[in-house]
Subunit: 416 residues, 2 copies
């Protein structure tokens, strides 16, 4: 090997070692040159196919790694989730993690993926309109694509998704005859559950065409079309007055600079007397989703610091009543999804190709690692208008084993 | 009455009507001139003794009203709490509520009451060193001067204060043998409770001399001096490493510009592996305590918007795990205190004079009104360091009727 090429290798290796910041990972450049050998037993070995891939990793580790893993130029020996956990854990030690190139393209991505009305439609279409048959392969039977709630770690995924729906309904003390608006309703499971189990009327918005068609079909099958209206439109076009604002897993698609506008839309819908719940992926500190995730998986996605998310409520004097962090439940939910995804691998590959399989495996595994290590959090925020008089006394009824008798549920009036 | 004097009266009346912003309150200037007669049945009648008082109310409604009520120049017919609720409810409609004079003196107060080390000592001394015998007259037997937790609205105050202590201990999943630092320990009840009931070691800080002496005496009586150390010092001088940071009702004495410093003190005490709880009076939107409260009752006090309080946690990447809003519980706690205070009125008057009685009645009644109407909120925030692995699975154990068996309490490890 000529001396010049060896110098470049050494420089590349140093960049890589800096970027992984001392994580217990072994890195091998084929045909067998070890680049990184940790002092402790490695959690995984990364095999890099060629020098070009190595160079791409140095210029742009996030996108470089994701793309090379997806197309097979990077192979992994060992547990992918454990590998990603090790990277996330050591990330804060990596000073050079974000290159000038990464920063520049991140800004470009922000502009390109701005959630204007048309931008949002394009972003949402790319992820959620991959085909209902694809999602059916690895989601639960009711097709919920948000964090489930596991009363115990051994709860099944189907039970945990139903428990999640009851958890948010109980948190809002839904009462028969009330009106609810749901912003971002996915395949409609929660809207139908609220109508069927709690006797409320629901107007549900979503800009994913595939999901709305599916949801409408389900409403017809269940005979709930009189109680639930599925509307193919943007949350910014919500119209009408409601008792309750519900949004589970949509805030991630609202850019932070639009939070005051989002607060206005909530206020237009429920005024000062209503109440609501936002369920969303957040963080302890401001940070962007990995650029690879934003490029290949979730265009326009954003997980806000909790403090930032409160900018939605503060201008309109909404009171925060309850915040619960369910990040371990999202890790558990994702473990179920990844298991089912791996089982369905042949079908997914036949549908979308093997590069897609590898990309989605990386996305699901990376999300598990994010929630386990705490670089991602899952918040449920219950809030109420400044004139919302019916407030509950304690959170104890959330934890009654018996299904609540909604008609008899006691409300304590703030003014009484 | 000469025409000039009548013109001034009219001008003063208009100012007053603007300040109360349409609240259903009748205002009478002795010997019987009605200034404000609401369209609906008034919740109370305010009788203003003389034209000087009326003028003071116009220049500075907050301090003018408080001082005139305290020295008897303003009398009240009807329910004082209901009157204050009506004022708070209508306050947002009052454009002229804050005069130039009020804004200027508010700034001056901020400077004078700054919580530097010596400023804090002076502020705390003025409120908490009024004498243990005074507080014994109307607090519960264990002398807790913070929001209680009422499992049901009918719970007694003594039970509710014990329930509050168990509620915060359960929220933190205290385990035998752990170390806890308490910042602002009052008369020591919570520190002693944690040591006695949960088997932890506690180092507790307070700069109120009277309270610390009382707390030390109780520790001796209970034989807990080996487990609880009461230190007469500022929270900024906390030293040592702990598993848990606990602070109930002290953040109100920390000015918002000192939150990053407060976060540093927490981090110095529990690092990235510990967990903690802050219990504090907050708000939905930024606002100051009434200037009368800051002048006569609580110098240097501050109730932050929730979003602002999160500035404590964000710089050090602490994860918020649970936030509960207990404002109705504080209204209920204050109702108990006001009842006991009224019963003890002769003793308080003998101790501190009748002007003091009236001032404290106004303070307690105003606080009830604040929590009922939502201009004040009570937050309990549970947080954990970025490397704090033991996290709980759900909040259900908080609501078990049985006292938790701390030794057996299950922890779910984030990394497992």
């Amino acid at each position: 090997m000529p001396i010049f090429s060896r110098l470049i290798d050494t420089w590349l290796q140093e960049k890589i070692l800096k970027a992984i910041g001392g994580a217990p990972i072994r890195i091998v450049l084929e045909p067998g040159d070890s680049i990184a050998v940790p002092d402790v037993a490695p959690v995984a070995t990364v095999i890099i196919r060629d020098r070009r891939t190595l160079a791409e990793l140095c210029i742009d580790p996030e996108v470089g790694f994701g793309d090379a893993y997806a197309d097979g130029r990077i192979q992994m020996e060992g547990d992918l989730v454990k590998f990603l956990e090790a990277v996330y854990e050591s990330w804060p030690n990596a000073p050079a993690a974000r290159s000038w190139y990464a920063r520049l393209t991140s800004k470009g991505m922000d502009l390109w993926q701005a959630n204007t009305l048309s931008g949002s439609r394009r972003n949402i279409h790319r992820h959620y309109d991959l085909g209902n048959n694809f999602y059916k392969l690895w989601l639960d039977a009711q097709m919920l694509y948000t964090c489930a709630y596991f009363p115990t770690p051994g709860t099944t995924l189907e039970e945990a998704q139903t428990a999640k729906m009851d958890h948010v309904c109980r948190k809002l003390r839904l009462q028969r005859g009330e009106t609810v608006v749901e912003a971002g309703c996915g395949w409609g499971a929660l809207s139908l559950h609220m109508a069927r189990e709690y006797g409320v009327s629901v107007k549900a918005y979503n800009i994913s065409r595939e999901q709305i068609l599916f949801a409408r079909e389900r409403a017809r099958e269940e005979g709930l079309t009189g109680q639930v209206e599925f509307i193919e439109d943007d949350y910014r076009n919500i119209s009408g007055k409601f008792d309750v604002f519900m949004s589970v897993g949509m805030l991630e698609h609202v850019r932070a600079d639009r939070y005051p506008e989002f607060g206005e839309i909530i206020h237009r819908s429920i005024g000062d007397t209503g109440r609501g719940l936002l369920h969303f992926i957040g963080r302890s500190q401001e940070a962007s989703f990995s650029r690879w995730i934003r490029k290949r998986i979730f265009p326009g996605a954003n997980a806000p610091a909790l403090r930032r998310a409160l900018e939605i409520f503060e201008p309109r004097n909404y009171a925060v009543l309850d915040i619960e962090n369910l990040r371990l439940h999202y890790a558990k939910t994702l473990e179920h999804w990844l298991d089912r995804f791996e089982t369905s691998q042949p079908q997914v590959a036949a549908m979308c190709g093997s590069e897609f399989v590898r990309a989605w495996r990386l996305y699901l595994a990376g999300s598990i690692a994010g929630f386990r290590t705490g670089s991602l959090q899952l918040f449920q925020v219950v809030f109420a208008g400044s004139k919302c008089h019916p407030l509950w006394w304690t959170r104890a009824p959330l934890y009654d084993d018996a299904k609540p008798d909604i008609e008899k549920m006691q409300w304590t009036h703030a003014m009484s």
